[in-house]
């Protein structure tokens, strides 16, 4: 064990966990990384490209190396940062990216082949032959260069989402964030404070400095207690704000149960969408390292992370062995002091500054640098070059401190471009970032504790003042105020490989090569080398790489510029982005009033938008859907059939000007419709194209019911509401949808009148009293209010009857019972389609947004006696001159099929675009005719009845001869529906 004394861990309790199958022990308060270090484990994984041994490098979400597969089975999650995994009893973790054992990875041969794997290797090598891309190259590359393995099983966990609204969102609960939250909370503002750590405090937990002469955790605890007690403050620990979106919306993931062995029935993670009037970004800073030869061995760490492990987790970074520190500023010395104070031997501090001064009792090598390292699976010694001399120093760990990079990522999310600050050698958040997001503390270069506390409080007060909320300044504790400045020393020159981006295996040499290959833009550099890609986002490498690039180009870093960042800042699981259900409840579905009745009849359902509609009702002995559909269609034409048509949109239109309003909505005349009658109506789009069709029933002088197609129920209502409110507000019209309110059942077939006669309450259904296209309010089944429409989609004598939706199920059952002797048959959407194709009625396939009233044969419906939406535009040359017309199509050989989607050509003509004469819109087998039929739009179709044409389906190599016919295959005179 390399556990030190002290720390913020609960030593009274012990937690058992395994890593690569070996059992270890840790304590509550540990992360997987701290527990591994405390157990003396340095080697935790293999690198992405070269399979180099890697160890824990950082102590937070910036970790590039210690990516593990966490948990097992269906819950196995690859690429999880060991530094962010809170230890729990029974935790199981596995190292990634090796073939064979971790300490003898067979693919480590890649490291020997590294000269071939330079920047751009993949782009240059795996180009030809093209056929190899997917089948050979990609699988091979994925196997060699992947990271963790997917679980390849359905995610067993539950995720949810939620919405928070606040005056001030504070991102980060370190010194600046806590000061901001206290300032805002005490001012009565509604505050959400989010921090990705499971414990509030940020760097205050990792440092040994006192606040008001007491341990910083005391102040943190008091602040947290005060904040949690405020009803206007919401504290979200384990919550990462990963992105800033439009209109002040911030995305955050709360890891509700990731620290539990099993979330059970609870939620694993919650996606919060936080609508904040303002936000303070107190995201802190990430330490950068200084690349030198072989700087990626296990044991080489960020110096600030070493302090965190020693102070917060009481874990010695170097398995108890001596530690060296390599720094270009005072920060590295803090590490040496803290480690020494905790009894960790410090072999030397190597400071690049010639004038550096030792701040304690340790060996200082001023003006020196670490130029190489040794140790196959873990650091054993470092080579120090100073004043022209080289020296090897034995050590088990090296802390590297190259200065701090403000965490500007969220401030970049609206294309805010970070600005180089030469004074602090860092990029600071620039102008043009998200509106209302104010950076404070270390993420804007105010990195000492005193600076961060003051800046957090000040920025919160200033921000709240914008909102008209007056906030006083809290009494802030006395805190350290050391300089965080670092010298501009970016990498140790040398010929060996020095890693810049550990996660993506990008070295200084790779950057030089990309420069040599003319990848001069930072955007090109990033993509050519893969630097800062994927989950890493360049947290520990980006600025260093830019500095190296600047050195190569001879430009300054400011001129070199930087890439910017997109959400998410840290990895977000797709499960939590879904935030809800998978499977059956993935999206809402709508059920018809007769759904349960149909299900009981073994109906097969089909999704129609959100609706589930009965597609057909198979009977015993029917083994193919065509058998069911043929039977249903014939039954309707011979007797009577029932179909739930509730899904068709219904819009209640009332008001003194309702008729005039509908005259303007519909292309045809509506205002002249008599009360008690129904009219077929056609709507056009504003551009003159046919839009939607349906019926319009007049129940009273000032009361209409408009029906729409199922698909356009919502859009038509929306358009009508737009017209009512915005186009013609002067008209007295009121609209409301009643689609769901009424169960509507089509009763179709020559025996439909006989059937309805048995359920109406003394209503006269005779042709004289209730003719074709009549409508009425009436009662049925002993007093139930209902509406009856004599309309037909099948061409047969037919009605649609509507009752309050709660009675739809019972009405359907009653009609079935009452019509048993009439051969009543339920039918589904498939039969509905067959019947309407046989009758030549247009539906969605014909009203596809590319066709006109004239093409549909409905040109005369566009009334010239009034204006309506789209009427003028329908007369423009481009539309009016279209010569394609809706026709019926019959195969010359009755054994052949008409295929929807096939294109129509004159016989013998070349089958190309120039000769394209139209297309088949709908097709089915007509049981009534005994062969396949279709509808289609054909050039001059109305002039070509009887002509034989060709329907070509080049995709499947089909070509069928069709005879052009009338679109009305059944009862073209319309006698059946009228008598």
């Amino acid at each position: 064990m390399t556990r030190l004394s002290g720390g913020l861990i609960d030593r009274d309790r012990t937690i058992a966990f395994t890593f690569d199958g070996r059992a270890y022990r840790g304590h509550p308060g540990d992360t997987l990384a701290s527990a591994l270090l405390a157990n003396g484990v340095r080697l935790v994984g293999r690198s992405f490209k070269y399979h180099r041994p890697r160890g824990i490098f950082a102590a937070g979400s910036e970790e590039p190396n210690a990516l593990v597969e966490l948990r097992d089975g269906a819950r196995r999650e690859p690429n999880t940062r060991a530094t962010m995994a809170e230890l729990f009893d029974g935790l199981t973790a596995t190292s990634q990216n090796h073939v064979g054992p971790l300490n003898f990875d067979l693919l480590a041969v890649n490291d020997l082949l590294s000269p071939f794997f330079a920047a751009g290797f993949y782009y240059k090598t795996f180009m030809w032959p093209r056929a190899f891309w997917e089948k050979l190259y990609e699988p091979a590359i994925r196997r060699a260069a992947g990271l963790g393995r997917l679980a390849e099983a359905a995610d067993p966990d539950a995720y949810d989402k939620g919405f928070l609204h606040c005056d001030l969102l504070v991102i980060g609960a370190g010194a600046a964030g806590l000061a901001a939250a206290l300032t805002a909370g005490r001012a009565g503002a509604r505050v959400v404070l989010a921090d990705e750590d499971f414990r509030l405090g940020g760097r205050l937990l990792a440092e040994s400095d006192l606040l008001d002469d007491a341990p910083a955790v005391d102040w943190v605890a008091a602040a947290e207690a005060e904040l949690r007690a405020m009803p206007n403050v919401r504290v979200l620990a384990r919550t990462t704000v990963f992105g800033v979106f439009d209109h002040g919306v911030y995305g955050a993931v709360e890891r509700v149960a990731d620290h539990l062995p099993d979330p059970g029935q609870g939620v694993r993670q919650t996606l919060w969408r936080i609508t904040a009037r303002r936000a303070v970004l107190a995201a802190g800073a990430t330490e950068r390292h200084i690349p030198f030869a072989n700087n990626d061995r296990p044991g080489v760490m960020l110096a600030g992370a070493m302090r965190a492990y020693a102070n917060r987790w009481a874990a010695a970074p170097g398995t108890g062995g001596p530690v060296t520190v390599f720094t270009n500023g005072d920060d590295g010395h803090r590490t040496a002091l803290d480690l020494a104070a905790r009894g960790v031997p410090v072999a030397a501090v190597i400071d690049t500054r010639a004038d550096a001064v030792a701040q304690g009792d340790y060996r200082l090598i001023a003006g020196g640098m670490v130029s190489d390292s040794k140790g196959r699976l873990g650091l054993t010694s470092v080579e120090v070059t100073a004043n022209g001399r080289r020296e090897w120093i034995n050590c088990a760990a090296l802390g590297v401190s190259g200065g701090w990079n403000p965490n500007v990522h969220l401030a970049s999310h609206h294309r805010g471009r970070p600005v180089w600050d030469a004074g602090s050698n860092a990029f600071l958040p620039g102008a043009g970032g998200p509106v209302g997001l104010v950076p404070a503390g270390a993420c804007v270069g105010q990195g000492s504790t005193a600076q961060a506390l003051a800046d957090g409080a000040r920025k919160a007060a200033e921000t709240l003042a914008d909102l008209g909320i007056a906030a006083g300044q809290p009494d802030l504790p006395k805190a350290e105020d050391r300089s965080t400045a670092a010298a501009a020393f970016w990498h140790v020159p040398g010929r060996k490989r020095a890693w810049v981006d550990h996660q993506n295996d990008v070295t200084v040499k790779d950057i030089a090569l990309s420069h040599q290959e003319n990848m001069r833009s930072v955007e090109h550099l990033k993509r050519w080398t893969t630097l800062g890609m994927a989950t890493d986002q360049g947290k520990t490498s980006n600025v260093t790489a830019l500095a190296v690039m600047a050195e190569l180009t001879g430009k300054g870093i400011a001129e070199t510029g930087t890439t910017i960042y997109r959400p998410p800042y840290t990895g977000v699981s797709l499960g939590v982005l879904g935030g809800g259900d998978s499977g059956a409840h993935f999206r809402p579905r709508r059920l018809t009033p007769t759904h349960h009745w149909a299900a009981a009849q073994s109906a097969v359902f089909v999704e129609v938008g959100q609706w589930m509609r009965a597609q057909y009702f198979p009977q015993p002995g029917e083994t193919h859907w065509r058998q069911s559909v043929d039977r249903e269609a014939l039954a309707v034409r011979a007797g009577v059939g029932l179909c739930d048509v509730t899904t068709l949109g219904k819009i209640d239109v009332q008001g003194a000007d309702a008729g005039e309003f509908l005259n303007r909505i519909y292309a045809n005349m509506i205002a002249t419709l008599k009360v008690g009658m129904t009219r077929y109506g056609l709507m056009l789009r504003e551009d003159g194209t046919a839009y939607d069709d349906g019926t319009c029933a007049r129940l009273a002088e000032d009361h209409f019911i408009v029906t729409t197609t199922t698909a356009n129920a919502g859009p038509v209502f929306r358009n009508m509401e737009f017209a009512r409110q915005c186009l013609w507000p002067e008209l007295d019209v009121q609209l409301i949808s009643t689609t769901d309110a009424w169960a509507q059942i089509a009763v179709a077939g020559p025996k439909s009148r006989a059937l309805l006669d048995r359920i109406v309450d003394g209503f006269d259904l005779s042709n004289a009293a209730f003719p074709f296209m009549a409508c009425a309010s009436l009662t049925v089944c002993g007093g139930l209010r209902a509406r009856l429409f004599r309309i037909s989609f099948s061409g047969e004598l037919a009605y649609e009857i509507a009752v309050p939706a709660r009675y739809g199920h019972a009405l359907m059952a009653r009609l079935m019972e009452a019509g048993a002797d009439l051969g009543v048959t339920p039918y589904g959407t498939e039969t509905l389609a067959v019947l309407r194709i046989e009758k030549g009625h247009a539906a969605g396939a014909e009203l596809n947004g590319q066709t006109t009233a004239t093409m549909l044969g409905l040109g005369r419906m566009v009334s010239a006696r009034k204006d309506s939406i789209g009427a003028v535009m329908s007369r423009r040359a481009g539309l009016a001159e279209d010569r394609r017309r809706l026709v019926g199509l019959v195969p010359v050989d009755p054994a052949q099929k008409v295929v929807a989607g096939a294109h129509l050509f004159t016989e013998g003509a070349a089958q190309d675009t120039a000769n394209d004469h139209g297309w088949v819109t709908s097709a089915c087998f007509s049981p009534h005719l005994g062969h396949s039929i279709g509808l289609g739009f054909l050039e001059d179709g109305d002039q070509r009845l009887g002509e034989v044409i060709v329907a070509a389906n080049p995709v499947e190599g089909q070509s069928v001869r069709l005879r052009v016919a009338s679109a009305h295959f059944v009862d073209p005179e319309g006698g059946r529906q009228r008598d």
């Binding site: 509604r190 409840h585 059920l591 409301i736 689609t739 309110a741």
Partner: protein, 190 residues
């Protein structure tokens, strides 16, 4: 009286009810719903003495309640009258208005808890609304899991959700799943 038997939106003849800790979710099939829209130039009526509420508000009177749905538009709730022709009943009380029966266009689910805090927790998981603005007596149109709804805070610890009847099953699933997770997480104890 018809001899047909009505079913609830969730498909059974009896309304569904489920309890999650201190949180109860119940289907309320017996409340009638009536849309009211003022015609041009008509004076705002006060049905059965109820002052129709302003934007975002819900008001309760004797045997009925109403919430605002748009300029000059309201929904009137009439408990116990779902099986009746509410248009005919209310026509004399709502002169100058277009009335449309909406009872079966919607389905009413109601949450009740012991404390307002639990309802607040529930709301922030269901709707993208500032929970603080949905105080008792407030009603608004919003969406739950991509489904359009009206939510009404009838009291600190009572929340009503009117959803599309055809989507009742999906809406119940969404509401009950959230409530169950709150129970599991220990957030539904009050």
């Amino acid at each position: 009286m018809t001899d047909l038997t009505a079913i609830c939106a969730l498909g059974a003849t009896e309304p569904r009810r489920e309890t999650f800790g201190a949180l109860t979710l119940a289907e309320r099939p017996d409340t009638a719903l009536l849309s009211v829209a003022l015609r041009r130039g008509a004076a705002q009526p006060a049905p059965l003495g109820l002052a129709l509420p302003g934007p975002g508000a819900w008001a309760v009177g004797e045997g009925l309640a109403a919430f605002w749905t748009g300029p000059g538009q309201w929904m009137v709730e009439v408990p116990g009258k779902a099986d009746t022709d509410v248009v005919a009943t209310f026509l004399p009380n709502l002169p100058g208005c277009s009335l449309t029966e909406q009872t079966d266009g919607w389905t009413l689910f109601e949450f009740s808890a012991k404390s307002g805090a639990t309802v607040g927790r529930l709301l922030e998981r269901l709707v993208n609304l500032d929970t603080a603005s949905l105080a008792p007596g407030r009603a608004t149109r919003t969406a739950v899991e991509h489904m359009g709804v009206f939510v009404i805070r009838r009291a600190e610890a009572e929340l009503a959700v009117w959803g599309t009847r055809s989507a009742a099953e999906s809406l119940w699933h969404a509401l009950s799943t959230t409530a169950r997770r709150m129970e599991t997480s220990g957030w539904a104890q009050q």
